[in-house]
Each structure stands twice: as C-alpha cells, then as structure tokens.
C-alpha cells in the first residue's frame, strides 16, 4: 500500500498531506495540554515524556540494531548525576550541561559497546546488566555524588528565566522530546540507520557488503546511551532529587519492557509502549483509591492476604498486562495498530 518510487520519497519527513495535518494537530494538542488539565496530569505528562526519550533511544539499539541492553538505568543515572554536577560544581548553563551529560553517557555507551562486539543473547544481557548494577553501586560510594543520601537538583535556569513549575518545564521537555524523536526518525533514514538495520538482520552479511561492524555497533550503543543520558538529566529536574536507589535494575527492565510491549523496530511503537507502561506505572500506584475495585481489594487482602503488602498489587497487574500483550501480540502495540489499519483499509474483504 505504501509503494516507494524513488529515494527522495523514502527519506522525506512526511509521506503525505494527511501526515502533516496530524502532525500539526498533535503539536497544537501538546501545546494546549497544560491549560486543559490539573497540575498532577502535567507532572504525569513530564514523567511520560522522559520515558519516551529513553524508549526511542533504546529502540535504536534493541529494535533497529538487534543488540540487547539491561543496563540503561546506568546511562540514565550518568545523565542525571552528570547534569546536576555540571551545573552545581562547574557552573555550566542548563542548555549546555544537558547535552554534555548526554555525551558523557554516550562515551560510557561506546565503552560498553566494545565487549558487545563479540557477545549476543544471554551473554550480552548479563554484561549490560552488570554494567547497570555497577554504576549504581559506584555512584552510591562516591562523596562528590552525595553517596547514599543523594543530591538535590539546583534551580533550573535558562538565561535569566527560572523554571520552577511543572507547566514551564513541560514546554522545555516537549521541545526536546520532539527534536530527539525527529532526530531518531531521520537517523534511521540515513546510511548509518540502514547499516544498523542490516546488522540486525544479518551481521555477517552486513560486514561482507562493507559495513564496519566495530564502528556501527559501538555507535548504536553510544547514540542510545546519549538519549538515555539526556532523559536522565531531565528526570533529575522532574524529581528535584536523585539518589542511587532510583536507578535500579527494575528501571532497566521497565525501559526494555516499554519497547518490547510497544513493538520493536518502530518509533511509533516505542512512543506508544513508553506512554502505556509509564502511565500504568503511575496509575497502578493508586489502585486502592479507585472507587469499587479499591474497596474490594482491601477486603480481599484483609481476609486472604496481608495488609502490609497490599501495594504489591500493582506489580501483579503490571506483570499480567506485559505477559498478556506478549502472548497475544508478539509485535506489541505496533502490531495491533498495523492489523487495525489493514482491516479498515481493505474493509469489506
């Protein structure tokens, strides 16, 4: 249904006028969003936007290049701590500190990419997992990073403009999210992006047609780490406080689940997965406040389970949703979207 006739049609930003229309509509919606809802939902949107950045970056590595990473919380932590330290100790302006922290994370990604050249499957997952765990441990032991107590984020200043509400931060965040998402989309249409996909599909064949595996695999790690680093830097200002306990293995697992649930190898999927899972993550925390279900759950836990562990219901539901999506649609939300679209396009048949 989407026949590409020449190269420029393949690389253009919008495939049709309809796409431009929806893009503009989305921009208007995102711009008006903070005026339509309560403050909590703006906070929620910020939280989701940060996860979208990580998911889009991780998708470049996992979905397009076919590597695996269980250590992205490590890059996220490097970005968060890097931004805070650069601003408070070295007096960088925010708009310089954020990409600088991203570059530091990218450097670590490059280092981690080196052993990844020879590893795959479970071997690569344990190497990246070890990296993620070690970063948190090391950060927790260094005085400059505040040790176990953590660090407070400094005032967020851009020039002479101080951003102290979620609404103001929302606009900065949206600009960065859109830039990075378009950046990822464009990257996948260049020579480098096509090389990533070729490595995923068959790395030996890719090497024989002249793709430098060393360069491209480490670059995929670095780009992906850059996204996670920038997201981490922004997250520090959403939380206003960072400590090593935030960046656990569970967070890495959450990032990976986002892109797999969303659908690997598609930017739309990464965004959808990140939105769904981080929304669930925030909403399920308050499941006991839901009118009917909450009361019923309270009675259930009083008679059959323990009251102290009642907050763990969120893990059960979360796990259940992940398992069900993976069982019924292995290509994730993106797969569901494609099937629905096909169904309506070819409707009577």
């Amino acid at each position: 249904m989407d026949m590409k006739r020449d190269y420029y049609e393949d690389v253009q930003l919008f495939s049709s006028g309809v796409a431009i229309f929806w893009f503009v509509a989305l921009m208007i919606f995102l711009g008006a969003f903070p005026f339509m809802v309560k403050n909590y939902y703006v906070y929620m949107a910020n939280y989701i936007a940060i996860n979208v950045i990580v998911a889009v970056g991780l998708n470049i590595l996992v979905g397009y290049t076919g590597q695996i990473s269980l250590g992205h919380a490590g890059f996220f932590a490097i970005g968060a701590y890097g931004t805070i330290i650069l601003i408070s100790q070295f007096h960088f302006p925010f708009l310089l500190a954020l990409p600088a922290a991203g570059v530091i994370a990218a450097f670590f990604g490059f280092i981690l990419g080196l052993p990844a050249l020879r590893l795959d499957g479970p071997y690569l997952s344990i190497a990246t997992l070890g990296f993620g765990l070690s970063i948190t441990q090391v950060i927790g032991k260094i005085e400059l990073f505040g040790g176990r107590q953590g660090l407070h984020a400094p005032e967020l200043m851009i020039g002479s403009w101080t951003l102290d509400t979620d609404r103001e931060f929302y606009y900065i965040l949206m600009v960065i999210v859109i830039l990075l998402t378009l950046g990822a989309r464009n990257l996948m249409k260049t020579r480098v992006g096509r090389a990533f996909i070729a490595i995923r599909d068959a790395d030996i064949a890719a090497e024989t047609i002249g793709i430098n595996l060393l360069w491209h695999k480490t670059m995929a790690f670095a780009v992906s780490a850059f996204y996670a680093g920038v997201a981490g830097g922004l997250y520090a200002f959403v939380l206003r406080f960072v400590e090593p306990e935030v960046f656990t293995l569970l967070l890495s697992i959450l990032f990976l689940s986002m892109i797999v649930v969303g659908g690997l190898g598609s930017i739309f999927g990464a965004i959808a997965g990140a939105c769904l899972l981080s929304w669930l993550d925030l909403t399920l925390r308050n499941i006991l406040d839901v009118p009917l279900v909450g009361d019923w759950l309270k009675i259930l836990s009083k008679s059959w389970f323990s009251i102290t562990g009642v907050s763990n219901i969120q893990f059960i539901l979360f796990g259940l949703i992940i398992v069900l999506i993976m069982l019924f649609e292995p290509r994730g939300i993106f797969g569901i979207w494609i099937r629905t679209k096909k169904y309506w396009k070819t409707w009577p048949f």
């Binding site: 997952s125 190497a127 032991k141 990976l256």
Partner: protein, 291 residues
C-alpha cells in the same frame, strides 16, 4: 592464613546457592533457549509455600519439605504449560519479557500474601550452630547446603546421562525436529524440564530462607546464578557449578582483602572480563555462526 581459608569456606557456602540457581537456569536454557528471569521468584514462591504449610497448617518439617518439592515441580509444569507454551512465534527477547512479567507477578503475589517483614523458615538445624574444621568455622546449615547441593548435582548428572527422560531432554535440546520424529513428545519434555529446573531452584530457596526470608531474597542469588551460568557457557552444567563456586570464593576474598563495599559488584566485573576473552563462556565449545 586461617583468615584466607575461612573466606574460602564462606565463599563455597554462598557458591552452593549460586550453583543451584545457575543449574536451574541452564537446564531451562538448554532445552528451550529461554533465559528464565522468573527462576528466582519460582524458588521464592516454593519457599513461602513451605513456610505457609509449616507455620499456618502445622505440618511437620519432614513432611513439609517433600510437599514443597512436589509443589515446585507442578509450579514449573504449570508456568510452562499455561504461559510459555501459549506464546505464538516467540522471539528470544519476547520470551525474556514474558519471564520478566512472570517474575513481577510471582513477586507481587508473594509480597501481597506474606507482607514485606522478615521471617525465618522453622528449620530443625539452627543457622547459628557451627562446625569447626581445623580452625575454620562453617555453620551447620552451610555444611548441609553444600552436601545437598553436591548430591543434587550428582543426581542431575546421573539423570541426564542414564534415565530415559534425561536422554530425551538432551535429544530435544540437540535437535527438536529429529527428536519429534523419533517419537519424543517434545512439548511434554520441555514442560518436564521446567519442573526439574523449578525443583533445583527450590533447594536454593529453601537453604536461603532457613536463615532469613523476605520477598526480595532471591534477587541476588538469581542474578549471581545467572552470571555463573553465563560464565560457564550457559549450556554446560559442570561449567555453571564451577563458575558459581569460583564467583562465590572470589567475591568473598575480594570483600575480605580489597573492599567490602564493592563486594557485590565484583562478580559482574569478572563476568565482563571473562566474556571479553571467551565470548561464549569458559566451558562451552565456541559457537561459530554459519552464514
């Protein structure tokens, strides 16, 4: 010098639980190529089952342990039959995500049911009794765990070499299509593998919960067991055991002589170093990809 031997002995004691978890992961990976992140939580659920029947239903210890083993066997069967078999055209990463989801469900269930406070399994041997061996001390529980781990490894070895079921499992791993043509019900074999693996992990869970049990107790042994399994080659049973004891000992020596703070990280650093030089682990034959 006596310090050194003391550390080695404690290292071997920790290594036993790593080895059991590592074995459990290798058994599943060998037959179905699934990295099972729910392994630790399967053992967790089994241990809390033992706790429940002993504490709330007052079943004596020597009846409760066999009941727990049977429970964990059926837990393994159930998870494979009800969840993993239902996945349609699964990818490696998709399977990992499914087991991670299972892990969350099981852990959430256990902490919902039993709460997050610390408990101990009523065990006939106290974890504070100790045995002296020429100036080196080990608790009676550690000695028992080591003995149980060794005999379990021997049983597994004999099982895979001589029993009909064990040989069928090996056949399914080597070539599922040929195994099916020879009349082996590969589906059922994979299900049984999950049962065997669940029981193996259950021993690790029980030995840990004798001292202290809480819903997060299996995380560390599971990750270290996974690390050991990868270091041993992910498909080799003796490799996983060897690597697990090696990791346990190195970890303890590092904690004693260099830095106690980074003790829990050192295992992963070693893994990365080993994988740099031997990308498919210490004991697996190097896997050469065919074009």
């Amino acid at each position: 010098m006596i310090d050194f031997f003391q550390m080695v002995v404690s290292g071997i004691a920790v290594g036993s639980s790593y080895a059991l978890m590592g074995l459990a992961m290798v058994i599943i990976y060998k037959t179905s190529e699934v990295v099972n992140f729910a392994q630790g939580e399967m053992a967790l659920l089994s241990s809390f089952f033992a706790f429940m029947i002993m504490e709330h239903h007052h079943i004596p210890f020597y009846a409760a342990i066999p009941a727990t083993l049977v429970f964990s066997l059926f837990l393994g069967f159930f998870l494979e039959f009800a969840v993993l078999r239902r996945a349609k055209d699964p990818s490696v990463l998709g399977m990992i995500i499914i087991t991670i989801g299972l892990e969350m469900i099981l852990m959430g269930f256990v902490s919902w049911k039993f709460g997050a406070d610390y408990k101990a399994l009523p065990f006939p041997i106290s974890p504070y009794e100790s045995v002296a061996m020429g100036g080196v001390y080990a608790s009676a529980l550690e000695v028992l765990t080591f003995g149980v781990a060794l005999s379990l490894m021997l049983i597994l070895f004999l099982f895979f070499r001589f029993s009909k079921l064990g040989v069928a499992m090996k056949a399914t791993q080597q070539n599922p299509v040929a195994a099916r043509l020879m009349g082996i019900r590969t589906n059922r074999i994979v299900m049984m593998t999950w049962g065997v693996s669940s029981v193996t992990g259950c021993f690790a869970g029980l030995s840990i919960s004798a001292a202290l049990m809480h819903p997060y107790m299996m995380w560390d042994p599971m990750l270290k067991g996974f690390a050991a399994a990868v270091m041993g080659g992910m498909t080799s049973l003796p490799g996983a055991v060897f690597a697990a004891y090696l990791l346990g000992i190195i970890e303890n020596l590092f904690g004693g002589y260099i830095s106690i703070e980074f003790k829990s990280v050192v295992a992963f650093v070693i893994i990365v170093l080993v994988l740099c030089f031997k990308p498919s682990g210490l004991f697996a034959r190097h896997y050469v990809k065919k074009v």
